[in-house]
Subunit: 312 residues, 2 copies
């Protein structure tokens, strides 16, 4: 099923690989063929699409516009294909997800497992990144669904849902704070703290609050892995900070305790956004998973906010 002109597909490959010869290898054709199609395209558009550098090719402004068009075309072709396939009962395809680390402990594996229980022939491709990288991967068409901290998102992305989770301190069961219901940041920082590095968005949530405190002790440990921070907290090394999403199972085993943060009487929210390319219609199997994802996150938001009601 290859109705679109080779120029379109070659251009797409060159954009992804950043090189004509690399694109030719991926496409299993000679590099000269790719080169010629690109030159033909540039002639038809009337303007260069790439800047030629000794190391490869970079998109020009017009090139980026064409890239957007080509992405729309190819993604919609995918959708068409899946529509035709599902007409004859074949419900299969690959859902590509880019998300931040908080989802990997419980939300995402639970959802994927249960979804595959029902739809065996839907495959998944997941990639864990920082929030801004998630959005970028989505913009570049490298993922279908993105889950990231809800920052300002570029206009070519659509925020499907926005869920708020309370940020809290995470400590081992034996920790002195563990018996409390909520904690303030100052109370936490009286103990050794495990802080996120700036590449994690938790850093940007907590930093302004920490800056307001009169006394800011040196962090005992800094890390860029939610997983590592959680395990450190479980071993009693110190107080870590994250949403309860990231410690679901361990919390159930009662090794870890989650204490929602109390910031001068109000909660500290961590906003999670679900994103999709705006100029796109998702294939049915992808949309189906997206709906479940939104529902599940909404359910977790409801449960957690019921378990930890707003501070009066």
């Amino acid at each position: 099923m290859r109705f679109h002109s080779p120029a379109i597909q070659y251009f797409h490959a060159v954009r992804r690989t950043g090189s004509i010869r690399a694109a030719a290898r991926v496409l299993n054709v000679a590099s000269s063929a790719v080169s010629r199609q690109i030159l033909k395209l540039e002639q038809e558009v009337g303007s260069p699409l790439f800047e030629r550098t000794p190391r490869g090719l970079t998109l020009t402004t017009v090139g980026e516009m064409l890239a957007r068009h080509v992405m729309n075309v190819l993604q919609d072709l995918d959708r068409f294909r899946s529509d035709v396939a599902s007409l004859s009962g074949a419900w299969h395809g690959t859902v590509s997800i880019a998300c931040i680390e908080s989802l990997t402990e419980s939300v995402l594996p639970d959802l994927i497992a249960s979804h595959r229980g029902r739809a065996r022939r839907v495959n998944f491709s997941t990639e864990v990144k920082g929030s801004s990288d998630v959005l970028e991967a989505l913009s570049r068409g490298e993922a279908d669904i993105g889950i990231a901290m809800a920052l300002r998102h570029p206009p070519d992305l659509r925020q499907v849902a926005l869920k708020r989770f309370r940020l809290g301190a995470v400590v081992a069961r034996e920790h002195p704070l563990a018996r409390r219901k909520t904690v303030t940041l100052a109370q936490c920082l009286a103990f050794p703290a495990i802080h996120a590095l700036p590449e994690l968005s938790i850093y940007h949530l907590l930093q302004p609050l920490i800056a307001q405190l009169s006394e800011t002790p040196e962090p005992a440990i800094q890390a860029n892995s939610i997983d590592l921070m959680r395990e450190l907290a479980a071993r009693g090394v110190g107080v870590a900070f994250q949403t309860q999403l990231g410690i679901g199972r361990l919390s159930r085993d009662s090794q870890l305790v989650f204490l929602p943060l109390d910031n001068a009487g109000s909660p500290v929210w961590s906003d999670l956004g679900i994103y999709v390319r705006a100029e796109r219609t998702l294939p049915a199997y992808t949309d189906s998973f997206l709906q479940e994802l939104v529902r599940e996150l909404g359910e977790r938001e409801r449960r957690e906010n019921a378990a930890y009601p707003p501070i009066a």
Copy 2:
């Protein structure tokens, strides 16, 4: 600028014309070429796209799916072209509008005239239809922007805005009712009435209300032209019904009087919707006009509802 394979464009032409030979005439190619491209497409998709009848070709289910894809591709290509053109300062293109008759008296001509005053090279193509035909033309890709009574719209259309206007009686200045501020339907029907035929949506707004009345006299005149109905009312033939949108200028000249309907103490609303194909990104020049249209209709809605405040 013809990057897309001939198969795509030929298919599009065949879908529009409903015939291979007619498509060939439009495309300035031999019918055999078109026939072969369609056959090739069907072979690649693995399923027939058209049903062959002695009179021409009709889309199959798969064909409609492909038509949707092809429409997305070609409309997005248009947008890409306009994006590239506007990069070099050339802001031109054609805005295609399908709308109901109420807009033709004042709203649309005013807007188009003022828009062309600022952007001389943006052309317009307008087509007046019934509400459901407007939506259908939009779905088929025959128009960019649709304005219609806000009925249930198909899922492939997006309602950009929804504005409510009061339905009222329209009478000549000398009419006995002309001195009133508002009128009830019963009061109107005491006089000869000019009714809309079922093909106009006003019919479907008024019919349920008329059915509730104990006494329903025969309509003096039935018509399917807003324009004609207005002119008849101006000549004192009877009472016509419409929103004030349709009688803007004549009302200013005081030949006609608009009397908002009072239905048991509450207004009778006529909802106007502005629609766009959902799976589509509009070219910049089209979007610009759309914004103005929404703003202008919002402004009229505000002004009219201020002039005729809700019945206490």
